[in-house]
């Protein structure tokens, strides 16, 4: 069958599936948070609030309908692009007003960090190819550095940086930088760099990615056609990267959800005002419109990246189209 047609069909199917996916994910999250004991009203009304006030508030928050009914309403509304208003976290602001900017930051942070991780992994994989005294040593060290839980490395890291800067400022008489001391949220981009650094180093992400990338590189290097390319004196590089592009990209894609999860902790420690922070706070306060809205954004991001990888794959590798079509 012709590549273009089948590719279009593929894309069509994928997009249809993605919509289903969104509905499914949003329902799952909606259901979970609505079935959590305690609701937005509890979150804001202290002891002794007269019950009638609580009831009126519940009605105002749309907590009076059941879970299914509530979801129905939510779905029909959000189909028109209206994801409702925040109840507790930022009363009166629409969910997207609050969520979109935060999510943008988080997406940049996590994809940036992940990208860095992948690049780093490639470099390391090229550097630490085969067993040898020195390289085994390095690999071992890497295992230890990257096996620290995210927040531990974050806490240790910030303590170290602060102490370091202080000492340095005393020694060199340099004026203190605007981002010091960390952790503090400031409009400066620097905290995001630190957060990114910790994301890359913490929670074994780097090691995991490194191993995956390394395995891919080795398998392609070992392939017969590479030997053939060598034998005819052509340069191996283009063939190598052409064949590595897809596996590496999918290594990126498959890890995005993990990183988007880990970002919650990092944002908490570095007090960044990203989606992770928002999600955590909002779910504590049972601000379900915000939580569900954000989750939709998360899902969307993962889906879109997934789509991209599929497109890339079917463009680069004709066999895929043949298989899926």
């Amino acid at each position: 069958m012709s590549g273009a047609a089948s590719f279009l069909a593929l894309a069509g199917r994928r997009i249809a599936a993605s919509l289903l996916l969104l509905v499914g994910a949003s329902f799952l999250i909606y259901f979970t948070i609505r079935s959590a004991p305690g609701d937005a009203v509890d979150a804001i009304t202290p002891m002794g609030t007269p019950p009638e006030i609580k009831e009126k508030l519940a009605a105002e928050f749309g907590l009076d309908q059941g879970v299914l009914g509530g979801y129905g309403v939510w779905l029909s509304r959000s189909a028109t692009g209206d994801f409702g208003e925040s109840l507790v976290f930022a009363p009166g602001q629409t969910v997207m007003e609050v969520a979109a900017p935060a999510f943008e930051k988080t997406l940049l942070l996590s994809s940036g960090a992940l990208f860095a991780t992948v690049v780093l992994s490639i470099l390391l994989a090229l550097l630490l190819g085969e067993p040898s005294a020195r390289q085994q040593g390095l690999t071992g060290a890497l295992y230890f550095i990257t096996s620290a839980p995210g927040f531990v490395s974050a806490v240790v890291f910030s303590a170290a940086v602060n102490a370091g800067v202080q000492r340095f400022v005393e020694q060199a008489g340099h004026e203190t930088p605007p981002w010091y001391p960390i952790p503090i949220y400031s409009d400066s981009i620097v905290p995001y760099f630190f957060a990114g650094f910790v994301l890359v180093m913490g929670d074994g992400l780097l090691m995991d990615t490194f191993n995956a990338v390394r395995a891919e590189i080795l398998s392609v290097r070992g392939a017969q056609f590479i030997a053939a390319v060598r034998a005819r004196g052509a340069s191996v590089t283009p063939h190598l990267w052409l064949n590595l592009a897809i596996p590496i990209f999918s290594a990126f894609v498959s890890r995005l959800p993990v990183v988007l999860g880990g970002v919650v902790i990092v944002e908490y420690v570095f007090t960044l005002d990203g989606a992770g922070y928002l999600l955590l706070e909002a779910s504590k306060q049972r601000d379900f419109p915000v939580v569900v809205g954000l989750s939709v954004l998360f899902t969307l991001a993962v889906i879109v990246v997934g789509l991209l990888s599929d497109v890339a794959r079917s463009v680069i590798d004709q066999r895929e189209v043949a298989r899926d079509g």
Binding site: P37, P177, P178, K284
Partner: protein
């Protein structure tokens, strides 16, 4: 540090200094554990919001450092002879942040809005005593009560809202005023200063009183260790000048610091361990007393909360109602055991029991109360010694309120009552009290509370409260724990610091930030 490292670091520093916008001078930064839910005073449910509103809004009456009440927006006031009403004379020439003039209309509006049934907020009941409010000319307000009210001025600490800020008296918590408040206070929200986790205020140029610090920046920083970090290096541009509450464990860090002072302040709030009286075993007074005797409050206090006063009743020692005749009980394990044996609670293995009942309780805790866990662990260990088992159930804030306050699914819980000024314990212990979540029902206490409520003479009222104190200390609806000396960590750059125990920032205008 090696030379090379130094060079690299300096390069990095220079770079980042260029990258990021230079921080403004004269900014007072402080971190908050929780994010202000709303800057609309009615809906300022959490303390972080209360503190913010204190900087943005004014009230008719304010409490000064010495604790007596003086004029805020009200220049003076006169209470009717029969204590049935009060007349305020307002300060003239006061301007709202948007330039409009402040008049009596605003005061009237505020009270009417608070009483509007469509305005839903928690402390609505605070306005119940007002029968009618009317403006008398531009700068006069008369407030009529539904019954005689002693020391009425004390009830006018609520913040005044601008009439022109709202379409009508029905105010919704979704009103954008909650993000773009208009007050008469010393500080106003900076342009674009309101963001997800930080709120920037700038000094209000035409404030009727002077205020020295030019900018205030609130930063939501849930991680205590981060707050400590920021105070430790408060020299840095991003450092903070104050941490509202320093956990005792971190205090040693600053005890002889050359950059930070420890500012103690005494809140009108006390800690308690609540018994659920609907639980058959806990309904037995002997059990409650035994527990009280088995728990070493002093030890817990010192280990986890630093300094404070051990209490014997539902008042702080600074309160006029505290009865010093009643001595707090100490640790008496034998007597505890005797009491339990006497009441027929026999040891079966680790846990005492009688018939089907066992002294095995669910201890529900609110995660938002940080020291909860540590305290529980101590209590659990101590109660085990007298054969009482307690199981932890550690839930987040929303779940806690639902489970404990609404559904009352708990045996024991640990919490704090905070009061703006003097304690009013009626709702806590009266069988019909709105805050009586422990199902406490004692006819004698009920009658005492009712009579006290009826008394007009403040002296008598005081006496009745003292008696109540004695009774409750015996009957133990709660196990009354302590009131704390709380410490703030304040940068030594701050001068003229005085902390108001409840509103915290009441005297902030006098604070000074030396460069």
């Amino acid at each position: 540090m090696s030379k090379r490292l130094l060079r690299v670091l300096s390069a990095f520093l220079l770079l980042t200094t260029l990258v990021s916008s230079a921080a403004a001078q004269q900014v007072f930064r402080y971190p908050e554990d929780t994010r202000p839910s709303s800057l609309l005073p009615f809906f300022a449910e959490d303390m972080s919001a209360v503190r913010m509103c204190e900087l943005i809004f004014d009230s008719l009456v304010v409490q000064n450092k010495r604790g007596d009440f003086e004029g805020g927006l009200a220049k003076s006031w006169t209470v009717d002879a029969d204590q049935g009403g009060i007349k305020f004379v307002l300060r003239e020439g006061v301007k709202w942040h948007d330039g409009e003039a402040f008049t009596a209309e605003d005061v009237v509006f505020t009270i009417q809005a608070a009483q509007d049934p469509k305005t839903l907020f928690n402390s609505k009941s605070k306005f119940n005593f007002i029968r009618e409010v009317s403006a008398q000319g531009q700068y006069g307000v008369y407030v009529a009560f539904d019954r005689p009210v002693p020391e009425a001025e004390k009830r006018f600490l609520f913040k005044i809202l601008p009439k022109h800020g709202f379409p009508d008296t029905a105010i919704s918590r979704k009103d954008k005023f909650a993000r773009e408040p208009i007050g008469t206070g010393p500080y106003k929200v900076k342009k674009g200063g309101y963001s997800l986790r930080s709120i920037a205020l700038e000094v209000n140029g035409d404030y009727w009183n002077t205020s020295k610090v030019s900018e205030v920046l609130m930063q939501h920083t849930p991680d205590k260790s981060a707050q400590i970090n920021l105070l430790q290096y408060s020299g840095g541009k991003a450092g903070v000048q104050a941490v509202i509450f320093l956990p005792p464990k971190n205090i040693p860090l600053f005890e002889n610091s050359d950059s930070v002072v420890l500012e103690p302040y005494h809140t009108v709030s006390w800690w308690y361990m609540a018994y659920n009286h609907e639980n058959k075993a806990l309904a037995d007074k002997a059990v409650r007393q035994a527990m009280a005797l088995a728990i070493d409050r002093q030890e817990l206090l010192e280990a986890h909360l630093g300094r404070g006063d051990i209490l014997s009743g539902p008042f702080t020692e600074s309160s006029p109602f505290y009865n010093f005749q009643v001595e707090p009980t100490g640790l008496e394990l034998e007597r505890a055991n005797q009491l339990l044996d006497g009441a027929g609670w026999a040891r079966k293995g680790d846990t005492r029991g009688k018939g089907k009942l066992k002294l095995d309780f669910e201890f529900v805790m609110d995660k938002e109360l940080a020291s909860n866990q540590a305290l529980f662990l101590g209590i659990q260990a101590q109660l085990k010694k007298v054969g009482i088992t307690v199981r932890p159930n550690y839930v987040d804030h929303a779940k806690y309120r639902d489970q404990v306050f609404t559904r009352r699914k708990f045996d024991l819980t640990l919490n704090i009552w905070s009061f703006e000024e003097v304690e009013d314990v009626y709702p806590l212990f009266h069988s019909k009290g709105v805050m009586n979540f422990i199902g406490y029902n004692n006819p004698d206490v009920d009658t005492m509370l009712d009579t006290a409520k009826a008394t007009k003479d403040y002296k008598k009222y005081k006496e009745q409260m003292k008696q109540l104190h004695a009774v409750l200390a015996q009957d133990l609806p709660y196990f009354f724990l302590w009131s704390l000396d709380i410490y703030s960590g304040i940068s030594k750059k701050m001068k003229g610091v005085y902390i108001q125990p409840y509103y915290y920032f009441s005297s902030f205008p006098e604070w000074e930030l030396s460069p």
